[in-house]
Symmetry: C2
Subunit: 377 residues, 2 copies
């Protein structure tokens, strides 16, 4: 396919590390939360191989924080999610499906309590702040909703601990999976979490950008970037970004790609996070699926194909042996680990069992395929 | 600056005319409402020159429609806008600033009544549907909010009437500025409006895409595209897109570029649309500015510069003669019409009068500048 350039503008925001990322050779970008997100440095496969062995620094500033502040902030979250917010410990990175009143997904963020009655909702790409503002205006709740200039920087790959220790000290090692600590960097306490959008482990550091608190930290983000590269040279540290091959093999969900506003949390395979439905605005809408389970669900698919790897730009049909449509494939990738192509799609209950033979209608023709559990690796 | 490619994906949606636009040679894209929007075909200046003389067909499917349907739909709009909705005639394309409870801009769409208690809100790039859903959930209003697969196709340039007449008949000529009619195309009534994001006149056609009404019109969008090019050959019809130079000379506002969630409607220069404040949720928040006017406003700026034309990726400071910051420039362009560079920025009242000398802090250094009224042409 012919490739086209991306046009930078103020509306599609650059990140604090834009110059660093461009200098490091970013070849392509996507747009996420109205902000640039690099998608490739040395090549999809080259980036994947490096990520599986070494450590990478990712500019994921586009994982914007919706800050909820005020006495009703927790209640607001509970209205928007079917997950029981009471189970959120103070140091948790709490993954919550967010739903509208009809029980359909608005987003699937991670929430962290960053102060008394203050929460950061680290969002996928949709303007969740607008839904929250509408709800707050409609119900007259006491919550202030802002987007502070906080920019996640991800450190991912098997050597992440080693690199992070060199910058933040040994305490890094004690951070458990999906937990966070506040660790000092150049005199400023930064939120450091053991999270990230790879299947190789690592951290996300929440870095104040130049607009945070009236310019209190004009160069902190740049200093941190530089120091990570300086101290990681012998670890083969490299610039990176969420890698589509790794992401798919890890079976991670991507709002807009594999799940969207057409899915309920149960259909997205997030039923285990639906333990607080009663206090959610969608309690009635979700009650049937809570009892009986969904009629379709996001599942893995393995399919043979020759060397082509088109991106899924529009859903591909998934067919049963009679040619009847029983699902939609919404993402695909080659998989070095599986040795063939993998995909994720939403498949009807009649055909979602692991091992079911189906076929996938790719732009290059029909391919035989097998339904499987997630993740692939 | 080095250029990077854009990565297509399902999350950043393609339009019904994606193949046509790529075949026609689109060189670059931006992302708008989670959808691709071409930004250049033959070159910014070449596209500008062609637009000023001939007629272009623009894929602006990214101008998504938020459909509000139900007995409370009009009330919902009135809660969200300071403009008096009672003044909206049935055939109007009604431009309305949308604001949150604090009086800050959420979007600046055009609204059309497309049926009894059914409205299409043709939005700029923010997820307005989410704010509306939050408000509806919070206040328990009877409004169904969807995004139907309706894709605007713009016909812009001085020969637009001639081309449109060939496809839709003479009735096209009777459509007044910012009014619409339903005109038949291949047996389907399409909304045709005399609107569009150029300063050269033209129309927007609201075209059902392949997902509209369960696939009722699988190829209508493509047929229309093809017919416009077939019938316009002797008019030098060409593919186009909102052209930044033309857009700037026309002084058009762009949510995310020249106005954003930091502006009130008064600050955006939209005070004349604030005649229905009392019934808007932001009535209290906006009352002071309604009485006294804003303290800063979006204004034009003309500045000399050598041949460079950087995009404004982050606001440039606007300074007074003592070096004090008195505004922020958020957009700039060369202007063939003015003969030098033009910009738009938000400037404090003390310095917003036309003819005021200021300076602009460009990445290439300080440039002397003059404040001026909008538009530039």
């Amino acid at each position: 396919m012919t490739q086209a350039f991306i046009t930078p503008s103020r509306r599609v925001r650059i990140t604090p590390w834009y110059n660093q990322v461009m200098s490091a050779g970013a070849k392509a970008f996507t747009v996420y939360n109205h902000m640039l997100l690099p998608t490739q440095f040395f090549g999809a496969r080259e980036d994947y191989d490096h990520l599986s062995e070494h450590v990478q620094v990712w500019d994921v500033a586009c994982e914007r924080q919706v800050q909820l502040k005020g006495p009703d902030a927790l209640d607001l979250l509970q209205l928007m999610t079917p997950r029981d917010m009471a189970q959120m410990a103070d140091d948790r990175c709490f993954y919550i499906p967010l739903v509208d009143g009809t029980g359909h997904l608005l987003n699937d963020p991670v929430v962290m309590k960053v102060g008394e009655d203050i929460y950061w909702v680290s969002i996928a790409s949709s303007d969740v702040a607008l839904y929250a503002k509408g709800l707050v205006a409609g119900r007259d709740m006491r919550v202030e909703i802002t987007e502070p200039d906080i920019n996640p920087l991800a450190i991912q790959g098997p050597k992440s601990d080693e690199l992070m220790v060199r910058v933040f000290g040994e305490e890094v090692r004690s951070i458990k999976f999906f937990r966070f600590k506040w660790l000092a960097y150049q005199g400023v306490d930064l939120l450091v979490a053991r999270t990230g959008f790879s299947g190789r482990g690592g951290f996300e550091i929440y870095v104040p950008g130049p607009s945070y608190e009236n310019g209190a930290y004009p160069v902190l983000a740049i200093n941190l970037w530089d120091e990570l590269f300086d101290r990681g040279e012998d670890l083969s540290v490299a610039p990176g970004c969420p890698n589509w091959i790794d992401f798919m093999e890890a079976g991670l969900l991507s709002y807009g790609n594999t799940i969207d506003a057409g899915h309920t949390p149960f259909e997205a395979g997030l039923g285990k996070y639906c333990n607080g439905i009663d206090t959610c605005l969608a309690s009635e809408a979700l009650s049937k699926e809570a009892d009986e389970g969904p009629a379709r669900m996001v599942r893995g698919v393995i399919f043979d194909s020759d060397d082509f790897v088109p991106s899924v730009l529009k859903d591909w049909s998934i067919l049963d042996s009679t040619g009847k449509k029983i699902g939609l494939l919404s993402a695909a990738s080659p998989s070095p680990h599986v040795g063939t192509h993998i995909g994720m799609g939403t498949i009807e209950k009649s055909h979602w069992q692991s091992g079911t033979f189906v076929s996938v209608e790719t732009p290059e023709g029909l391919r035989t395929a097998t339904v499987t559990d997630l993740p692939f690796r």
